[in-house]
Assembly symmetry: C2
Homo-oligomer: 575 residues x 2
């Protein structure tokens, strides 16, 4: 009987000797390589954290003691040890668990987490609650080195430094976030690694925290010893462990950035636009002629198609600010203010970190920087990575011009225009679909969007950006009912309902507006405000404002009544 | 002729000797005490920064060199030296300038800034732009110690530590933010002060930055010497100066927290609700019976009526997290998850820092914490402190129940209910007006809001929270036209348009919705989406989505057509 077969809960590892714990870790490693190879997933971070996870569950008593995982993409071993091993061992159960912690899955997961840099603050909240309620449990935050550069983590460290009670912060230092780390603190971490934790520049003691260093971060005995010692501290302590990302998988060990995530069957991965090199190629070609072009990203260049080779060619015209989205927005604002043609590429979900910076640092200052929003739209992701909120978040910030092209040609024209203009900040929602169309001028797109007028005044269908495809499909279905072609519009600009468009639309009996974002706070709601004042019947279609978990997009489209059949049925029902 | 009379631009101080610079500083100090005494303003921070500002303009060459002021409420001396002295010397011109930097006022102000912790990132952007454009100017970020705890500042420090070029960060350490500082880094700052900058725990060198210490932060000669030295650095350097907040005004020196801001004529100040002790009294009385009640604030307790005496009585049930709004949201989420009755008081404008934390850390985790939003609504503030965005920001986040009571009694009932419930997070917009009414049960308010039905089906007027007053006024004006009483509604819940309310409203010919926030993304837009689908004519009234600067609220109300006269006129125009 293998070790792993004997483990049904963390209690089952309490009686194991060091050799057995190590054997268990090795079995888990083999299982993860197979499972991640088959389903895809976060390879490097999970392989590096196996021993530390075993040690944590050996020393602490979950779920009484609370383990709070930052980002929580490194929790596969934690899930195996906490009653969810079938999801990693049995292909029939691979889909049973999400890739992140989830309290609905297990009492061993205190929070649902998918964004970085939150664990210290959440753990400090648990500790504060424990103190007020008279609890005695231990609270542990497990944080990767990449997460440390995020503002919320640093705020948390500062507050932990002033807290007087038990809190253990396990810092998993694998010398990488997704891409290589950037920022001055990583020099200090390197010095701590090189000095066995004794280097004078210590960010953690500077924040008032206790500090322990463990060089052998993949050695269970060393980890158990250090964690047992740290458990006795009555004030916050950082246990800094040096681990090897991707340990045990040669490919992931050697390709630490690409090995962060593996695709099913080992296929090459690109996470960004369906046309992944489109933006990168445009920016690189322009950058070669324009030395003031500056492309900025916050720790996820691979996700937006900015490969290591592209970064090398961009040289000083590319800047990775590490996980620091707030800083990224302020940085492009400052650079644009100084005359650079600055562009920030950011995922819809991570842009949520930047509401205030978009408003105060960027829009209020009319800095002509460009923000490219990737992954905006519907997705089958877990709830922490949804891309359906950015329209509602950004389009209601004053002074931001928000644009949603439909075709690659429109996108290229708007991006080029945006980098040249000096009036103020521009947000462009990068198309998720690869659609081609005629070359348009940015000026025309900005002035009137894309309008296919009808001679008939019955129905107008508006589709914003990617949703213009759905509008076109609905128009075809409507005509298949023997109706005249409806007016079709992609407004392109979604930061306001333009008066000209409102006038055009209000000449119709019914207006339908489709967008790939939530209805509440979205673009259709702007149209509805204008059209309701005129008493024009308007059907606004988009996502419900609620969290959804790994639901197929086709399912969502049907539920949101955005399919051609649903649009036609809803129009017919009004007659 | 006084020194100050001779200064028309920073060039005019270049030829002054140290004694003259000191005399100039003293004249500025006398002028500021008089001016702030008369108009109100940020007293302590400005008095402490006079010498450093003179020294900065002596050593650097603004506007060629760029001075980026964090928060920028400490820039009165900067404004005096850069051609705006009349606004501080001549009562007829007191209103000529804002309390913050503003590029529209002067080329010496690179940014409009009013939120903290942004200067390092903005300055790094200017520096990066300079490098790409081949500029040679110096860039200086001026940061107060209180701002250091904010995530954006810490992200900026980390990125500055990895930057290879000129950037000077002047850290004004006056041992205070608005209220006393909280967090582990302040222990390290104290050790640096006590050791003359030599203490081993140095946050700045840990971030990879160069570091200089100046104990005599109100001594112009010492400052000029240090800044001249720091100016020669070719990589980022922190110049840590120890200043005395409120220097030269005995009252501000002795009352550093209250002295942060002085009211005109020296009147006592409270910034929060018009009934400033209402919330504090409620929370304190409940906290005495409920040891799990936890009240959290991010560095502005005075602004929400949480006085030093109140804080003393709350003891461990009160937590100031310093300027760290993101952390504050995660903290209450964690504490509520552990069973504490956690409540965060935060200003509408500063809550903008927390979009992602409200969504991911709080709402997604269904943590039953309460967020009290202060200063939500129209105000005559500068654009950086507007309170009109929170409805659009928060009400479109899934899983947040957002409530807008109108009366003190409704507010108290909803706050008490919120602290007891366990379903999930609740946002309450604290009423800005003090209105009394009958005692209501929270359950009734949540289920149906406040509805005064009419026997007539002509007009329904909806007023959310504070705007219910405007709805009542409009109803009276409508009746004065000889019309039947309209249906009157405060929906209370503004995170969704309830189906029951939509049904009630759609039985009317025309619906008017008033709210004290921007129209786009707001509550009325939710109603408009639902009512436009039914073809019901709906007038949504609220603020335009654009930045406004110190405009009287009465003016705004007229411009937004929310006055009784405007509502009646717009209704009549539809007939």
């Amino acid at each position: 009987m293998s070790m792993i077969d004997r483990i049904h809960s963390p209690q089952d590892i309490k009686g194991l000797c060091p050799q057995e714990l190590t054997a268990l870790a090795e079995e888990i490693r083999q299982a993860l390589v197979v499972r991640i190879g088959a389903t895809g997933g976060h390879m490097g971070s999970n392989l590096g954290m196996i021993e530390a996870t075993v040690a944590l569950h050996y020393v602490f008593d979950s779920p009484r003691d609370k383990l709070v995982w930052d980002v929580s993409h490194q929790t596969y071993t934690h899930k195996i040890l906490t009653g969810r091993k079938d999801a990693y061992l049995d292909p029939a159960h691979y889909a049973d668990v999400s890739g992140y912690t989830n309290p609905d899955e297990s009492a061993h997961d205190p929070f649902m987490v998918g964004h970085t840099s939150t664990a210290i603050s959440l753990a400090l909240g648990l500790a504060k609650g424990r103190d007020l309620l008279g609890g005695k449990e231990c609270v542990v935050a497990v944080v990767g080195d990449g997460a440390l550069s995020g503002g919320e983590a640093l705020e948390g460290l500062n507050n932990a430094g002033a807290y007087d009670g038990q809190l253990l912060i396990l810092l998993n230092d694998n010398e990488m976030s997704i891409a290589p780390n950037h920022g001055g603190l990583y020099g200090s971490l390197a010095a701590l690694r090189q000095s066995g934790g004794k280097a004078p520049n210590n960010l953690f003691t500077a924040f008032g925290l206790e500090y322990l260093y463990v060089e052998q971060g993949n050695d269970i005995s060393a980890l158990v010893e250090a964690l047992s010692r740290a458990k006795e501290y009555t004030r916050p302590v950082v246990v800094h462990i040096h681990t090897q990302k991707g340990l045990g998988c040669a490919w992931a060990e050697q390709n630490k950035e690409q090995g962060h995530w593996a695709n099913p069957g080992g296929a090459a991965r690109f996470e960004g636009e369906n046309n992944p090199t489109f933006t990168a190629d445009l920016l690189l070609s322009w950058a070669k002629k324009d030395p003031t072009l500056l492309a900025v990203n916050a720790a996820t260049p691979g996700a937006v198609g900015w490969t290591p080779e592209w970064r090398r060619q961009m040289g000083a015209q590319y800047q990775d600010v590490a996980i620091a989205e707030e800083h990224a927005v302020a940085l492009v604002s400052g650079a644009a203010k100084r005359g650079a043609h600055a562009v920030l590429a950011i995922q819809s979900s991570f842009a949520q970190r930047t509401y205030d910076q978009l408003l105060q640092d960027l829009a209020l200052n009319r800095s002509p920087a460009t923000v490219l929003v990737y992954f905006g739209g519907f997705s089958s992701a877990d709830p922490t990575h949804a891309g359906c909120y950015d329209i509602a978040m950004m389009s209601n910030i004053p002074g931001l011009l928000c644009l949603a092209p439909h075709t690659q040609e429109e996108y290229a024209a708007l991006l080029r225009w945006s980098l040249q203009q000096t009036a103020g900040p521009v947000v462009i929602r990068v198309p998720q679909q690869v659609v081609h169309g005629p070359t348009s001028s940015a000026e025309t797109l900005l002035a009137q969007g894309v309008v296919q007028p009808s001679t008939d005044s019955e129905v107008a269908i508006v589709g914003l950006g990617d949703a213009f495809t759905y509008a076109q499909q609905a128009a075809i279905a409507w005509q298949a009912e023997g109706r005249p072609a409806p007016t079709l519009v992609n407004p392109v600009v979604y930061s306001a309902a333009s008066p000209a468009l409102v006038e055009l639309l209000s000449a119709h009996r019914t207006v339908v507006c489709l967008e790939t974002g939530i209805i509440e706070g979205g673009y259709g709601a702007k149209l509805a405000v204008a059209l309701a004042e005129k008493g024009v019947r308007t059907l606004v279609r988009g996502a419900d404002k609620r969290f959804i978990d790994r639901e197929a997009v086709t399912n969502q489209l049907a539920r949101y009544r955005m399919t051609p059949e649903a649009v036609v049925a809803d129009l017919l029902a009004l007659e």
